[in-house]
Amino acid sequence: MNDAHSTGHAEHSIRGYIFVFIALLVGTMFTVWASYIDLGHQWNIVLALVIASVKAFLVAGYFMHLVSERKLIFMVLGSTAFFFAGLIFITLWSMQPHSLIHL
């Protein structure tokens, strides 16, 4: 990734970038549109998060070149994702049994 690409290469990837760009715009419009139709509350949330994840994958994968990145970076990000998941899920899990008082 670091060695200079030939011009032809760059031309090729520019088309890819533009494609990702358009996909992101469409995804944004789609998620807004989807939020106005009623799928049942949970499903609206799930759909919005799925779209956001796809968009995030596009940005990270192509703009940030993660799809062709080195193993080391994956190890770093993998462990981060793991601990992040732990933080969210364990915290949620342990808060659950409390009976909240709503004043």
């Binding site: 409390h98 009976s99 909240l100 008082i101 709503h102 004043l103």
Partner: protein, 261 residues
């Protein structure tokens, strides 16, 4: 065995014990300390011996390979196994029994305790044994800290005390704990019970007192400059008769809208 336990609990300086589950707390503390002491003494003996035997004057040229036996692996595995036994055999089932299973409310003394800087407010359901309806929209810090419904007949004989918690002996006590301001922690050492009182949450906890007497309620969570002197709470464990008398007397004078400050 009893004697051994008693001896160790003396050795470790465990304070007076006055609750049913407390014996399990103490036993587990003692078992863990056996493990700790055994490990510590074992290692220390090895340590001192190794330092002595392999000091430079005695052993001028070190041995490249060092220990070749696998004894250490066995020790490590043994530690892991013993910890596993303590965990799976004692700690986890104890906790499930205790925190997981609550005694039936009908067979227990149920009290509400609201902590505040720097005192314990206690509310009893009164002689009828029924607590009045609570609605937190009605809470008013000065006149109605529990948010009681003044129109509920069950609540008419409810009463409240400050820093004075009476319970009958040998009957489970359920404490519904919350706090008005900051986090406090309800701790009665002889009962081997600690439970944080957290504003916004109502957390039940329970114990069964087994010795008559007066105990101090400690606050075990830093709650401000009066934390050290939040020491006036009393837990009074009485016979059932004395307790009933006390309830009856209080129910007459008490009332749901009693002020606390």
């Amino acid at each position: 065995m009893e004697n051994v336990i008693a001896f160790f609990s003396k050795l470790l300086g465990m304070p007076v014990l006055a609750s049913k589950h407390g014996i399990e707390v103490d036993n587990l503390i003692i078992y863990v300390h056996w493990l700790m002491i055994a490990l510590f003494i074992g290692w220390l003996a090895y340590f001192v011996y190794a330092l002595f035997r392999f000091r430079k004057g005695k052993h001028p040229r070190a041995d490249y390979d060092g220990v070749k036996s696998h004894a250490s692996t066995y020790v490590e595995v043994a530690v892991a196994v013993i910890e596993g036994v303590l965990l799976i055999g004692f700690a986890i089932p104890f906790w499930y029994q205790n925190a997981g299973k609550f005694p039936a409310e009908s067979e227990s003394t149920v009290v509400h305790v609201v902590a505040q800087q720097f005192a314990w407010n206690v509310r009893y359901p009164g002689a009828d044994g029924k607590a009045g309806r609570q609605d937190f929209h009605l809470v008013n810090a000065a006149t109605n800290p529990f948010g009681l419904d003044p129109n509920d007949p069950d609540g008419k004989d409810d009463f409240a005390t400050v820093n004075d918690l009476h319970v009958p002996i040998n009957k489970p006590v359920i404490i519904n704990l919350t706090s008005k301001d900051v986090i406090h922690s309800f701790k009665v050492i002889a009962m081997r019970i600690t439970q944080d009182a957290i504003p916004g949450l109502k957390i039940p906890s329970h114990f069964t007192p087994t010795k008559i007497g007066i105990y101090q309620i400690n606050c075990a969570q830093l709650c401000g400059n009066g934390h050290a002197s939040m020491a006036n709470g009393r837990l009074v464990v009485q016979t059932q008769e004395d307790f009933d008398k006390w309830i009856a007397a209080k129910s007459k004078t008490g009332g749901a809208s009693q002020s606390f400050e």
